[in-house]
């Protein structure tokens, strides 16, 4: 059991940091430190292309497809340095972290050639069409329909919470392709062009005033027959495989973002005297400890090579970080005091900490609510009987 990284890995860390810092001090100075996913979207697409031009876009992918075949440790290091340098989140993170790996794992050679180069190059931005108004936690009750017509899939229905759909080029859609089927059976996984007449995007304004999420309506939207990943009826298997990619190496990079947030709270507490309050001190210490334990939990998860057993660190990770960050948002407001409730300008636009407070209410909902996480932990991790399904 060891804590750190090897000397060669630390060299790689310096290489990542030096390139990223140079970019954030130079050509892409204007996007440094942006904390929302929507601000300066066009510049951030250029940033995706800059990453690709220097082969930093998808380092974990095979070299054949624009990656570097990077080891898990190298991917973790890159993600950490990316966040540490204050680089804003990837507007194509769904393409790089979800769509790409799904195509690599389940796609045909022809599909790989069709999609991967565009994703790797930062030219094709992807979004995810999973949730529906009637299929949230119960994802398998998807109702969006797909039917085959003259060599094309024709799709009708509605997706919701499609993050960044308004700046995306493509969407992957879990669609019910077997008429009358129920639950996880009869679903298929389609890749669709967002920029076609049958797809309409409407933004959803969130409690922080931003609109990162969307409703996406499909009205006779179309894609070629060979845009299906896997076979007809494999949709659930592929969607579940994709969700497993979500718990990957980006977690440690995400934690560097959390570190920046906690540091900002610490700085605010020192500046306004809250750092002298014994209760605030306890909560800051708890936040620090929680963040450290998240880091070492992720290290355990990523060091684990025995995938035959349930990995407790991995299974509990989502609810752990989401709950931690929600508490951090509350701590931020207690440190800031009433002044934290005032926005500087005329617009309903928030500085990082009040925005953290508001945005973090979604952390315990998206990607599986805390309640669903507890079901998963109790059922998969502890072998408790499954929740009975209703008929409605």
């Amino acid at each position: 059991m060891k804590l750190g990284f090897s000397a060669a890995e630390e060299d790689f860390r310096r290489e990542c940091a030096s390139w990223l810092n140079a970019q954030m001090a130079g050509e892409f100075k204007d996007i440094k430190g942006i904390s929302t996913l929507t601000e300066k979207a066009e510049r951030r697409k250029e940033w995706e292309q800059q990453l690709a031009a220097h082969k930093w876009s998808c380092i974990g992918w095979p070299e054949q497809w624009g990656g570097r075949n990077a080891t898990l440790a190298q991917q973790v290091i890159f993600a950490e340095e990316y966040a540490r340098a204050g680089v804003p989140g990837r507007v194509n993170h769904i393409g790089i972290e979800l769509a790409g790996p799904t195509i690599l794992a389940f796609g045909t050679d022809e599909q790989k050639k069709r999609f991967l180069p565009g994703i790797a190059a930062g030219q094709t931005i992807f979004c995810q069409g999973f949730s529906e108004p009637g299929a949230g936690s119960d994802l398998a009750s998807v109702r969006t329909k797909g039917r085959l017509e003259n060599g094309e899939w024709v799709v009708n229905g509605q997706k919701i919470w499609t993050s960044l759909a308004h700046i995306s080029d493509w969407i992957f859609v879990v669609t019910r392709t077997e008429e009358g089927s129920k639950g996880p059976k009869g679903l298929s996984f389609l890749m669709m062009d967002v920029k076609q007449p049958g797809v309409e995007i409407r933004g959803i304004k969130q409690i922080n005033g931003d609109a990162e999420f969307n409703e996406t309506f499909f009205t006779d939207a179309r894609c070629p027959e060979d845009s299906m990943i896997g076979a007809v009826g494999d949709g659930w298997k592929i969607a579940m495989g994709l969700l497993a990619f979500e718990r990957g190496v980006s977690t440690l990079g995400q934690q560097m973002g959390f570190r920046n947030e906690l540091n900002e709270i610490i700085a605010a507490a020192r500046a306004n005297g809250a750092a002298n309050d014994p209760l605030i001190r306890q909560r800051i210490a708890k936040a620090e400890i929680g963040l450290q334990l998240m880091r070492y939990g992720a290290m355990r998860m990523l060091s684990n090579t025995d995938h035959s057993k349930i990995d407790g660190a991995a299974l509990t990770y989502k609810i752990q970080w989401a709950s931690w960050r929600r508490s951090l948002g509350e701590l931020a407001m207690d440190v800031l005091g009433q002044g934290g409730e005032i926005a500087e300008g005329a617009d309903y636009e928030w500085d990082a900490l009040p925005n953290l407070f508001l945005f973090s209410r979604s952390d315990t909902i998206y990607g599986g609510t805390n309640q669903i996480q507890r079901n998963l932990i109790a059922e998969r991790g502890l072998g408790m009987p499954r929740e009975p399904r209703g008929d409605i």
Binding site: M1, K2, L3, G4, F5, L72, A73, V76, I266, A269, R270, G273, A275, N276, P278, R281, Q282, I284, A285, K286, E288, I289, G290, Q292, L293, M294, Y296, G297, M299, R300, L302, S303, N304, T305, G312, A313, L315, T316, I319, Q320, Q371, Q373, R374, N375, I377, A378, E379, G381, L382, G383, M384, P385, R386, E387, P388
Partner: protein, 351 residues
């Protein structure tokens, strides 16, 4: 990234787990609870047959020459069964001697302590008058102090080895809530102590070893409360269903697991940081002690609640975990104190 047990470490863990789950039975522990809180047969076989008592002691002193990670694995499994053993005293006294003892003290005491023939306890106090190496004062709340044959005792000025049977030593054992680790008050009146070469280093090493020991015990205890409650949840039927099928119940089990997984990261981060001499070892130790203790208490309390009435009986083992957990929360610095140390590292002293 290798933040996972090596094959050798896994074998040590499996050996310790099998030993304690087979031998540290409820029946034997309860027999020890009715006496001085030490299962002597278990202690002898742990020290001699199993040979894990000196796991973190260098080979030159008769140990296995491994580190705090391996010791924590042993303490985790001992804690899982709330074994009535003077393991904390062994951990603290042996590390104190290693860090601050003279060569002669190490040569004399470490083999005796590791062999189990001498039970050691370790404590510090503010109430000690030192005249040369003649000591007068008292040490309260010494874990297993009533069972110890030798003490490593100290204050800000130094540390000394004191024999239980030396002239001027009196020991008062207390009826203690956690009967598996009863406290005693050690009173010294003009006692001749054998001074350690570096008392400050000895006491610091003892504290660190103590934090790792109780944090690891807490981790093991917490995991065991969850395991036993999970088993109960599957077998107990009410309203025609196993009670574990109710969300109000299973979500509490999930919450226990979420805390335990973090406590596991904390304990092995701290043990590894100490072994590697990492810069954040102190942060890790404070995190591990405070987090694991609170996790254990939460889980042991939940164990009682989730067992219903049977969990409140003397006959059921839930109270053994609950009382050990409560004791660990208070000993060697309360969680609030440890968190204040972390706050001071981050924020500086409060104005």
């Amino acid at each position: 990234m290798e933040f996972a047990f090596t094959e050798e470490q896994q074998m040590i863990g499996e050996t310790a787990k099998a030993f304690f789950s087979e031998n540290a039975t409820s029946e034997r522990t309860r027999k020890a609870m009715a006496a001085d809180g030490v299962d002597r047969d278990l202690w002898t076989s742990f020290c001699t047959e199993l040979g894990l008592s000196g796991i973190a002691v260098p080979e030159a002193q008769g140990g296995a020459g491994l580190g705090q990670v391996e010791f924590a694995m042993v303490a985790e499994h001992a804690g899982a069964q709330v074994a009535a053993l003077p393991l904390l005293g062994l951990a603290m006294a042996s590390k104190a001697l290693l860090a601050g003892g003279t060569d002669a003290q190490k040569a004399k005491w470490l083999p005796e302590i590791i062999s189990g023939s001498t039970i050691a306890a370790c404590a510090g106090t503010d109430d000690l008058v030192v005249d040369g190496d003649t000591l007068t004062g008292s040490f309260t709340l010494v874990p297993h102090g009533g069972s110890a044959d030798v003490f490593v005792l100290g204050n800000v000025a130094g540390a000394w080895v004191v024999m239980r049977d030396a002239a001027g030593v009196s020991v008062t054992s207390h009826t203690t809530m956690d009967q598996t680790r009863p406290y005693a008050t050690i009173t010294l009146k003009g006692v001749a102590g054998d001074p350690l070469a570096d008392g400050a280093a000895a006491l610091q090493a003892a504290r660190e070893a103590g934090w790792i020991c109780v944090a690891a015990e807490a981790l093991g205890g917490a995991q065991e409360t969850l395991n036993r409650t999970v088993a109960y949840a599957k077998e107990r039927v009410q309203f025609g269903r196993p009670i574990g099928s109710f969300q109000a119940y299973k979500h509490r089990l999930a919450d226990m697991m979420i805390e335990i997984e973090q406590a596991r990261s904390a304990v092995y981060w701290a043990a590894c940081a100490v072994d590697e001499g990492a810069g954040d070892a102190q942060l890790a130790l404070h995190a591990a002690k405070s987090f694991a203790a609170d996790t254990y208490f939460k889980c042991a309390g939940d164990m009682i609640q989730l067992h219903g009435g049977i969990g409140f009986t003397w006959e059921h083992d839930a109270h053994l975990f609950f009382k050990r957990a409560r004791a660990i929360q208070s000993m060697l610095g309360h969680g609030n104190w440890h968190r204040e140390q972390v706050a001071t590292m981050i924020l500086g002293d409060a104005a």
